[in-house]
Subunit: 111 residues, 2 copies
Amino acid sequence: MTAHTPGPWADPVTGVCPVAETLRLLGGKHGPTLLHCLTGGEMHFLELSRALGGISRKVLTEQLRVFEAEGLISRTPKQDARRRVAYALTPRGQALGAIIAQLYDWSTQPA
Amino acid sequence: MTAHTPGPWADPVTGVCPVAETLRLLGGKHGPTLLHCLTGGEMHFLELSRALGGISRKVLTEQLRVFEAEGLISRTPKQDARRRVAYALTPRGQALGAIIAQLYDWSTQPA
DNA sequence: CTGTATCCAGACGGATACTG
DNA sequence: CAGTATCCGTCTGGATACAG
């Protein structure tokens, strides 16, 4: 065939590439790092804030809300004196995190 | 340990998360789709332009240049009458594309 | 066909101050 | 500790016209 056969990168209904959509789920500048952070286990708001370096609390909050709405993370307020809130990956979030982790290996391979 | 043990998401030297860096390599709005498109084989500029739907030639050109500089794709001008230019994934680009393809499977799994 | 050159609107994210 | 509310600069990407 002279004409190129397109791969499955466009949804027949929405016309949107699922891969691009998934990448969008990962969020903006800090989304991927945030998700990858939580791969190591649950973390509190301030821990995440510090781990992500120069992220503003506003953006962090927004991203957490989005991930929560997407079912990637869970939010559980601890009832201790410090009123901390723990964030952790859901099974679905972990599955995505596993794929993301492969990007780590890829990035360390020789060109 | 009460304190959370950070995962390998921050480079000890640059302080940058390699995963986030890799995700950045994928480019902006159309980068991932573009890469995924080329998974099916080499394509010409106009083919890509159409496959990506509403992408401007300016942005497409920019993204192609970036990918080329990153060693993810190759640019080979054909010397035919139509002066077309073929773009294809390099081995490194294909390796990345393989990982990206997993995102497709993930996105189709039940929540 | 394959770009390049401007211009511009909107999204994104940082800084800061304030609240429960 | 964990947010929320504003303000505002920057960066991205779209539209359009022009060029090799």
